[in-house]
Symmetry: C2
Amino acid sequence: MAELSVGEVARRSGVAVSALHFYESKGLIHSQRNAGNQRRYRREVLRRIALIRAAQAMGVSLAEIARALAVLPNDAAPSAADWRVMSQQWGAQLERRIARLQQMRDSLTGCIGCGCLSMDVCPLYNPDDQLAHAGPGPVILNRK
Amino acid sequence: MAELSVGEVARRSGVAVSALHFYESKGLIHSQRNAGNQRRYRREVLRRIALIRAAQAMGVSLAEIARALAVLPNDAAPSAADWRVMSQQWGAQLERRIARLQQMRDSLTGCIGCGCLSMDVCPLYNPDDQLAHAGPGPVILNRK
DNA sequence: CTAAAACCTCAACTAAACTTTAGGTCAAGC
DNA sequence: GCTTGACCTAAAGTTTAGTTGAGGTTTTAG
């Protein structure tokens, strides 16, 4: 069969049928309908779904993914150039997230080392109370 | 003043009053009441809040934080030993999260390098469709 | 031809972590 | 003494990423 039913796409992509409906409602994927009003997907949709899941796993929200995919023709698999743009942008985000967590981990290990006997100076343990006035300083906490 | 009002705690901790109410409702922090039924906090609550935000920033859910804090006396600042236990546990979680993201980043950079001209073999780009049957294989996608 | 499996839509529900609103009380400044 | 700002509670709303359920249609297998 040239076109895939929703159940088939679900099976092959590992994404629930309800999630596929949901993605469609958000404009992330598209489908045609057959005579009986059932969804029929082009094979390319699997790539698109793969990309969606990959981006999600990197921490990109569906809204952002939708924005990025909006420029592509319906369900066309992104070209190498498209993908390069997306992956570079999202990769940079990824890097920042990783860096933030690593910073966090470093402070944390320092904290385990110090045994937190000196809670007044521990960077992980001291948010704004003593440090708010101290300029940049320990930057770890209370940041969205 | 020996005790802090909710507004004061909000100002010093950078956490909204509504969030403090919310944390209290979840048992994460505690307060006494004054004659007029207003919350009065001990200074230690600031430490507790700092810890909550630190843990959250590490990706720990409030429910988990609540579980960890439940063993401590109300609003006592955690002892060094308590903190050691928590930070070790959460640190391990952090490590795993970082590792997962790094793996992701590595696949992604590989993908940028390859220009995704060969989408059939790209590990980031290929989820279950061609690879589901292939045992462990590229493990990157579709994992909670 | 019929029964089961798959599909359809729409609305409501879930979870986390809060915020907002409404209606009312309390405290502080002038 | 009164107004304004801070505070109270309880309920409802918000966002993200879906899932679940009800009621009905279509497709497929025997």
